[in-house]
């Protein structure tokens, strides 16, 4: 089994979100970057397939050189090698096209990604990648088992879950459930040392034409102060919700 894990390099979840250049760019000053949490679930599942079923695990990202520490972290967690496509990831469709080249050239038969990145929240790269490659695809994946060429997959649906079966090649977009929170790994010293020696290939971009373009950002508008209700007077809360907010 040859696994490719798609890694997005995103601001840490605690980051304050600010914009620069007249609200046209994300202001990355002082921001810590991490492996996108959904991709971390995918990577953790991939490590299981490596250790239990002898799969090889490559991680890939589309991004400039600033994304390399994030790839090194994935190598420290245990991936065998890494690929960086050297271009800014500005448009989900273009990113999917870049990754499609990587999958074709590398002969991967299982691609694990996250259901969305927590920065741009596009939720589109894995599905588009699967369509470009004509691979089976399951979104919002909360369970994946592979036996030989056969995969059993579960996905979250509104109000429940669905179990599916498919042959490889397969792409899934994962979320919690694919692995549990406690399964996530923090790289140890040995992993970090080894990661420095592992191959990180830089691939030139195929320069696809962007299909979308973000022209500006806006912050959430400031909120008015919270109205406090006395704990002994919950009836007042009900009347505010009924008469003022009109939500009950």
């Amino acid at each position: 089994m040859k696994i490719l894990v798609c890694i997005s390099h995103v601001p840490d979840t605690t980051s304050k979100i600010n914009f620069s250049e007249n609200n046209t760019k994300f202001d990355s000053s002082g921001v810590q970057y991490v492996i996108n949490p959904y991709d971390e679930f995918a990577l953790t599942r991939a490590m299981w397939f490596k250790e239990k079923q002898g799969a090889s695990v490559t991680v890939a990202t589309v991004g400039n050189a600033t994304t390399e520490p994030t790839l090194r972290k994935a190598l420290a967690i245990g991936a065998d090698d890494a690929i960086r496509v050297n271009t800014e990831a500005l448009d989900g469709f273009t990113v999917a096209k870049e990754l499609a080249e990587i999958v074709k050239n590398g002969g991967y038969n299982l691609v694990l990604a996250g259901k969305e990145s927590i920065d741009y929240n596009g939720g589109m790269v894995p599905a588009m990648l699967a369509t470009l490659l004509d691979f089976n695809f399951v979104n919002a994946c909360i369970g994946l088992e592979i036996e030989g060429d056969k995969a059993t997959i579960s996905r979250e649906i509104d109000g429940g879950k669905e179990t599916l079966s498919a042959n490889l090649p397969l792409i899934i977009a994962g979320q919690k459930g694919l692995v549990e929170e406690k399964d996530l790994r923090i790289p140890n010293m040995r992993g970090i040392m080894m990661a420095r020696q592992k191959p990180l290939a830089i691939v030139e971009s195929s320069n696809g034409k962007a299909t979308t373009s973000i022209v500006s950002f806006e912050k959430q508008p400031a909120k008015s102060a919270c109205k406090l209700v006395d704990a002994d007077n919950v009836g007042e809360l009900i009347s505010l919700l009924h008469n003022e907010a009109k939500v009950i």
Binding site: P11, M124, L164, K176, V234, L241, I248
Partner: protein, 320 residues
């Protein structure tokens, strides 16, 4: 030329989101000076869509489509888009919509904007406003391709009645092959899901343990609400993962969100702040949730919630 909307139904009935995307699609069609076409699969009540502006309804009836398959549905949408020369294709953000919308875009070689929350702010270049950074901000995105695919965020536009005299046309698309097979579906019927709920009642670590969720469920049941929880509560196994809301859980965009014993960490707030009205009940007046909430009670949940349930029951009885 046209605007094409996909209206999802479940057991023949349209979901609320289907009426929302139809309402939205009608306005987009007006902006573009064109007609709205709505595509439905195995729905028995297409005329309802006329009330929300559907000039033409395409109905696909096929038992092979009883179980959703993203690849097959995406391909049907593509065929409908080509047949109707759609300039814009609009899909909701239910679990299935999120799954197949990007496939539609890839099929049509079209730019895709997900999480759209409002009508296009410009037609040329076509520009839409989207949620980004997990609800901490918005961006304005231009879609640069001839055909545009939009994923409309839930509860962002609402239902707008707009009665037209529509027509219904049977549509028989080709079904593409897929060897991805659904083997089992487990779905709780009759329980309000977080995604569809107007009201969500959510509990955090402040509730001390799973044995204390009885009052959360009772409060939810009095309000007709869905139940949710913070991440540590699901990590600890007190509640199922499907209830975890926040930046790395489910997004909530209900009309009312009630947070009980939840501190209001940035990752939690990111996922719930598109709810219209937020209420917090917390013993700690310094809890960050008070900065994000509209209404708050500083108090012990174990005292406040039972009182609230009692008063709500009285209120419901008087307002029935």
């Amino acid at each position: 030329m046209s605007v094409l909307v996909f209206a999802e139904s479940s057991e023949g009935k349209f979901k609320k989101s289907a009426l929302e995307v139809t309402s939205y699609g009608k306005k987009v069609a007006e902006q573009l000076g064109t007609n709205l076409v709505v595509l439905t699969i195995n729905s028995s009540e297409s005329a309802v869509l006329y009330n929300y502006g559907a000039e033409k309804v395409l109905t696909v009836s096929n038992d092979a489509l009883k179980i959703f398959n993203a690849k097959i549905v995406a391909n049907i949408v593509k065929q409908a888009a080509e047949k109707e020369s759609a300039q814009v294709v609009i899909i909701d953000s239910n679990a299935n919509g999120l799954y197949f919308a990007p496939i539609v875009a890839a099929n049509l070689n079209a730019g895709f904007a997900s999480n759209v929350i409002a009508l296009p702010t410009a037609i040329a270049p076509f520009t839409v406003k989207r949620k980004t950074f997990s609800n901490k901000a918005f961006n304005n995105t231009q879609i640069l391709t001839d055909i545009k695919v939009i994923g409309l965020a839930k509860n962002s536009f609402g239902l707008v009645e707009n009665k037209v005299s529509g027509t219904t046309e049977a549509f028989s698309p080709i079904l593409v092959e897929s060897n991805l097979v659904s083997t089992a579906i487990e779905q709780t019927k009759g329980k309000v899901t977080i995604a569809d709920a107007d009201i969500v009642v959510s509990g955090g670590r402040g509730l001390k343990g799973p044995e204390n969720w009885g009052m959360i469920e009772e409060l939810a049941s009095v309000l007709g609400a869905a139940t949710a929880c913070s991440k540590p509560v699901s990590d600890l196994g007190w509640r199922p993962h499907s209830e975890h809301v926040g930046q790395t859980g489910k997004p909530v965009s209900s009309n009312l969100y009630i947070a009980i014993g939840i501190s209001g960490a940035i990752q939690h707030l990111a996922g719930v702040n598109s709810s219209k009205v937020k209420v917090v009940i917390n013993t700690d007046p310094e809890a960050p949730f008070f900065k994000a909430a509209d209404y708050g009670i500083v108090g012990d949940a174990f005292e406040v919630v039972p009182k609230l349930i009692e008063k709500l029951k009285e209120f419901k009885a008087n307002n029935a």
